[in-house]
Symmetry: C2
DNA sequence: CCTGTTAGTTCATAAGTCGCGAACTACGGG
DNA sequence: CCCGTAGTTCGCGACTTATGAACTAACAGG
């Protein structure tokens, strides 16, 4: 098993981010990671939006998100712990994740787009 | 030739926008349309980033952008005039296009992301 | 009206990407 | 050492994308 490749902040691209988040399942995974401090294993996302996602598919989704620089994955014992790299992404592209999350929430009818304080999604 | 399909504002989706703009050539086309009032024909974009894009490929790019709701295309005589639907997109997803344009500019080393006044593109 | 030109669309197909079951790897535990 | 859990990789069929070739639409000139 080859070791994981996490791009450096400078190698994160807009295309990569847009492509990664243009898939509804990946978007759901990222949303589940971005608003929390605690790492979550892949197995946490085996059920997305009423559907059971096969392990191999999930693995690919995580790889795309990882290679886009959106998340960091580290093996912790037998499982894989994933955390969002939001602060780094924000440093490279200020406001991008925020805007995408706000748009996603608006579309799916949910409030709260901001990180901790539920602003930005605005009126 | 079937008439064009432009989604209504409410049918514009985040996935559609992200997918459309995750391609460098489509991003270049959209950037060329979004910061101007004047409509531009498809032929205006036959050369993108040092490369001559085939007509059929261009046509597909415009279709994707159109179906994502990012642009409007209308036949005017022998050519096709394209304009950005930015105001409408902004209404549905406030700040999204702004953030993506800012990120794109930052990545490609160009300043000026905002609409008319060259702000927003960072400090 | 016919012919030609320009601008773009559609079709067909080759090349590339994705989804997912099956097989494999890694890390504990007993 | 063998087993179970969590995830990765492989292989292949299904779906997408890119592009040359053929087609369509809107004019202009004769």
């Amino acid at each position: 098993m080859r070791p994981f490749t996490h791009p450096s902040v400078d190698n994160i691209t807009v295309e990569g981010i847009l492509h990664a988040l243009s898939d509804p399942e990946r978007m759901a995974i990222y949303v589940g990671l971005v608003n929390t401090e605690t790492a979550r294993s892949c197995a946490n996302f085996q059920r997305i939006n009423e559907r059971t996602v096969p392990k191999s598919t999930l693995s690919q989704h995580f790889r795309i998100l990882r290679e886009a620089g959106l998340i960091r994955s580290e093996r912790q014992g037998v499982e894989m712990l994933n955390t969002s790299r939001r602060a780094e992404v924000d440093k490279r592209f200020p406001g991008l994740v925020d805007a995408i999350m706000a748009a996603h929430c608006r579309q799916s009818g949910k409030a709260n787009a901001g990180r901790k304080r539920g602003r930005r999604a605005r009126a």
